[in-house]
Symmetry: C2
Subunit: 270 residues, 2 copies
């Protein structure tokens, strides 16, 4: 039954969405612009969807993996579509028990209130811990690394997170690194939100090769020109950072509480 | 009845999604991290959703506008969720006749096969032409500018598009400009796909002020570090560009045909 359902989904995807990004892997198109079925050895990528996630954290790397022609699984605790910051619900294609035993990539997007809730959910933590133990790459963007850490997957690893919460990483046994994309053995974590593009392309180069990643960068015309130099706390300056911090004491307290509870469960020193 | 439906949607949005991006407009949060209702004068932004669109083209600017606390309307020909490149269907919140007479922003995302289909759809063209005539800003990302052009909204304007199709802009009466974000009077068009972040922040600064846009840039940690210098045809070099072009003769022919048909309808010289 599970197999039937997946086959139906796969067929629906091919009929409906595939090829919508015209320039995707251009050389793979047939004369009518259709994409052939995914190859058997397409990278298997399990991307967590959880309630109150940040849609952009998922969509940017997912677009990269899609153009790379990966076997993308959106994995949820249930098939119930997950609410997102932009109020576009995102449905899972697989529940936890439907994910293959071995995947190439486990990916966790951010979304602070959603991350906090998931950090306290035994089923989610068990899935991540189990899947992450066997995955070739264990990855995240934005606050997703807190959830990886809560699942015990970042102990002894260098990792990035959103600047507002990255100070909490050491409580989960990780070394906080203020870089856009941090690779430590088979862990790859991205900084806040938009780091998902840099992360996705970096991972694409590892999964296939640099040339594939370069082509995707050209397809997505990723030659960014931010209108201001204001994307990091250092660029923004102490006044703006202080203003933002002042607006989120409740949120910060929730994050700290969730991290401390996770650290205790993992038997880490306070 | 229309009003009731909108009220229900607005209430659902407030209960479910708002505040998921914790750092959104931090100073507006209350002590429990909840966002207050949108102010009466929140920018009204009509974002087209059309079948086979590129999800990323929509989500990146939408995230910016959401943090800016805008009144975002996802506008479709029908309420039927639109298929996207990543196979995440995106539903409309408003049909064409439910959009207020005057909006601050009309936005069109890209998605070449979807764009081509929409360029031949009288209802979509009529909506865009009508809404765009009264909108304060007429905008697009990626191939969306071809659709604006087909609706007669770019005649005599400078505009950007995805590099694979930007040569077609002059056939629609526009001047092609190879820049990341092009502003000409009240038209603001972005380049390919990922230009949506630069575009969104640039427009946020116009809609509110530079300080608001800077804060959003910090929230989204938009300090990009592309892993390669490969985001433009010039960076990628002639060989990669030729490979990509060679893979899409059918697609290019379709785009040309749609543009020529639109140009004829607009009475433009061939």
């Amino acid at each position: 039954m599970t197999l039937d359902r997946r086959q139906i989904l796969a067929l629906a995807a091919l009929a409906g969405g595939a090829g919508a990004f015209e320039t995707a892997s251009a050389e793979a198109h047939d004369a009518q612009g259709r994409m052939p079925p995914l190859p058997e050895d397409a990278p298997k990528i399990a991307m967590l969807v959880h309630p109150r996630m940040i849609a952009l954290d998922l969509i940017n790397p997912m677009t990269v993996f899609n153009i790379l022609r990966s076997n993308i699984m959106l994995v949820g605790k249930t098939m119930e579509p997950a609410a997102t910051d932009v109020r576009i619900p995102i449905g899972a294609t697989h529940t936890f028990d439907q994910v293959p035993r071995e995947v190439d990539v486990l990916f966790v997007p951010g979304g602070i209130m959603g991350t906090i809730a998931a950090m306290d959910d035994p089923e989610t933590l068990t899935f991540l811990s189990d899947c992450g133990r066997r995955a070739k790459w264990v990855t995240s963007v934005c606050t997703g690394s807190l959830l990886l850490g809560a699942a015990g997957l970042l102990q002894g690893y260098r990792a990035a997170s959103h600047w507002t919460v990255s100070d909490l990483l050491p409580k989960l046994g990780a070394t906080k690194v203020d870089e856009r994309v941090v690779i430590d053995r088979n862990r790859m974590t991205g900084g806040g939100a938009t780091a998902g593009l840099d992360f996705g392309l970096t991972l694409a180069a590892k999964l296939v090769d640099e040339e594939a990643a370069r082509r995707i960068q050209l397809i997505l015309e990723y030659a960014p020109e931010p209108p201001f130099a204001n994307g990091t706390p250092a660029q923004a300056g102490p006044e703006r950072v202080a203003t933002m911090r002042a607006g989120r004491p409740w949120m910060d307290a929730q994050a700290l509480k969730a991290v401390e509870a996770a650290a205790e469960r993992l038997g880490l020193p306070a």
